[in-house]
């Protein structure tokens, strides 16, 4: 029973990493949102399995929260934002995609090596997935760095939060409820504020390219 659960958790962890890489190499904004939704779904599945395997009822609550927020509400908000901003163009990465992927694999190796001694200390069923969670966080960071437009950066930020949540569940059976609720609200509010912010950027510069913000500097 517990071996099946840990295998399932490993599978979902691998799926999260796969989706993080897919997001890193994706050029289209809409597909990026779909991938983000899928990543949220994988997170919900892994958290539910973890809750069932370790008999921790508060993890069910955490999974439900993720489902509502990451799979339903945020993608809906993003879709609406994309529709209202009428952005359907291809994402322009600052680095070309193969280079990004190569740097990504270096990050994965780095994360795996970094997490190995930490996970040796943990007693959780899913301790070996800590490296994957860390790799997801770093890959999302990388995505935020290599994209020039505002919406992919926001999606990168949200994916970063996915990775953090997964790290928390895999290393310590989840954060206290208050912290989790706080983070969820933060992400939601952050999303709303960033949405408003994007409208402002477009109003000001007629584009969502973040590099235009450089013009705001006073010399």
């Amino acid at each position: 029973m517990s071996t099946l659960a840990s295998q399932l958790i490993n599978l979902f962890a691998a799926l999260l990493l796969l989706l993080a890489f897919a997001m890193l190499s994706q050029r289209r904004v809409l597909s990026l949102v779909h991938l983000f939704t899928l990543q949220g779904a994988a997170l919900v599945a892994s958290t539910s399995v973890m809750a069932y395997a370790t008999d921790q009822p508060h993890l069910y609550f955490s999974a439900a929260l993720t489902l509502v927020l990451k799979v339903l509400l945020l993608p809906w908000l993003l879709h609406r934002l994309i529709q209202r901003l009428a952005v359907r163009w291809d994402v322009e990465p600052l680095l070309n995609i193969p280079t990004t992927m190569l740097v990504g694999i270096v990050l994965v190796i780095f994360a795996f090596t970094l997490a190995a001694p930490i996970s040796a200390l943990s007693a959780s069923v899913a301790r070996s997935t800590l490296g994957i969670a860390l790799a997801c966080v770093l890959l999302s960071f990388m995505m935020m760095i290599t994209r020039a437009k505002a919406i992919p950066q926001v999606i990168g930020f949200l994916a970063l939060e996915n990775g953090l949540l997964f790290a928390a569940t895999s290393a310590t059976y989840g954060m206290p409820m208050v912290v989790e609720l706080g983070i969820a609200l933060d992400v939601l509010v952050g999303m709303v504020i960033l949405g408003v912010f994007m409208f402002q950027i477009r109003e000001q510069f007629d584009s969502l390219d973040i590099s235009h913000l450089e013009k705001l500097k006073e010399d």
Binding site: L11, L15, M101, A116
Partner: protein
């Protein structure tokens, strides 16, 4: 393995070669039919590839005056390589006397030999299209091969052997376990097979007209029985790749050594698996658009990285 040449092994080996050589065009026909259904076209008959082969074998083969013997030899070499590849891959039974002749790494080499010959044959006449196709084929090949090897290495690590027959025995014999590494390897393998078999995101198998074609550009100069052999070899390659995929990721239902009666069960199981796989291939081909040739290296680099990550995940999770 010393006394492997017993009658049941020989029988299953012969049966497997016969099934591959005779059944491969059927798989091609099935994929084409599924694709036509999905695209709302009226489907070509299932047996159309056989009729095409029959027609081509009865036609005269025209060879350019400057063609060297290499050009004439290429169809036979390519067909031989593909038939041997199909013989080595355990599709019906793992009790194959020939399987000890080539492990999975040698199998990749076998595909490489076929590729080099078909590219040289295309260069041989010196037409613009042939040269162009051969260069593109080598571009795709040199990127797809390491990715394929990485996929194979992942399954070698999991099952502890480089022989496909042993891999199938090990994976099918164990109790059911989920290997996250195989998920990565599976995605990478699908991408590599699409590229290697000249399928839609990389090449379009249904055109002789586009400037972007790869495989068809190389075989434009062939006609008659030469063309028939090359088309047949292309079907065999698709069959071999499908069987490698099934062997690595869905190894259940293959007959073991010492149980020749299992062959009766293995055959329908294989047919069902291939039919599902063919339908899936048609679905992928319909759902995706052909990419620019300069996007292909990116696509295959993605496949390579996925395969490498699969290996890393296997080492990390230790599953």
């Amino acid at each position: 393995m010393g006394a492997a040449l017993n009658w049941s092994g020989l029988l299953s080996q012969l049966l497997e070669i016969a099934l591959a050589v005779l059944g491969a065009p059927l798989l091609t026909g099935w994929v084409n039919q599924c694709r036509a259904w999905l695209q709302n076209k009226s489907a070509p008959p299932l047996l159309l590839p056989y009729r095409t082969l029959h027609k081509l074998f009865n036609k005269e083969s025209v060879v350019a005056t400057h063609a060297s013997p290499l050009f004439r030899a290429t169809p036979y070499v390519v067909f031989g390589c593909m038939a041997l590849a199909c013989a080595v891959v355990p599709s019906l039974s793992t009790d194959l006397p020939l399987a000890s002749a080539a492990d999975a790494i040698a199998l990749v080499g076998l595909f490489a030999v076929a590729r080099v010959f078909i590219a040289l044959g295309a260069f041989d006449i010196g037409t613009a299209f042939g040269t162009l196709g051969a260069r593109r084929e080598m571009l795709v090949g040199f990127l797809a091969e390491p990715a394929l090897l990485m996929v194979l290495f992942t399954s070698f690590l999991i099952s502890g052997s480089t022989s496909l027959a042993t891999i199938v025995e090990n994976l099918a014999g164990r109790e059911l376990a989920i290997y996250p590494a195989l998920a990565f390897a599976g995605v990478a393998f699908t991408m590599v097979s699409l590229a290697e078999n000249a399928r839609v995101p990389v090449d379009n198998p249904a055109t002789h007209l586009e400037l972007t074609m790869i495989h068809e550009a190389m075989i434009l100069e062939y006609s008659g029985r030469h063309l028939a052999l090359i088309e047949w070899a292309a079907s065999l390659k698709l069959f071999a790749y499908s069987c490698i995929g099934l062997a690595l990721f869905f190894p259940w239902g293959v007959a073991r050594a010492g149980a020749p009666l299992d062959l009766f069960l293995a055959l329908p199981v294989l047919i069902v698996k291939l039919a599902l796989g063919g339908a899936l291939l048609a679905l992928i081909e319909t759902a995706s658009a052909k990419m620019r040739i300069f996007r292909v290296p990116e696509f295959l680099a993605g496949a390579f990285l996925l395969a490498v990550i699969g290996m890393l995940v296997h080492l990390l999770l230790g599953a």
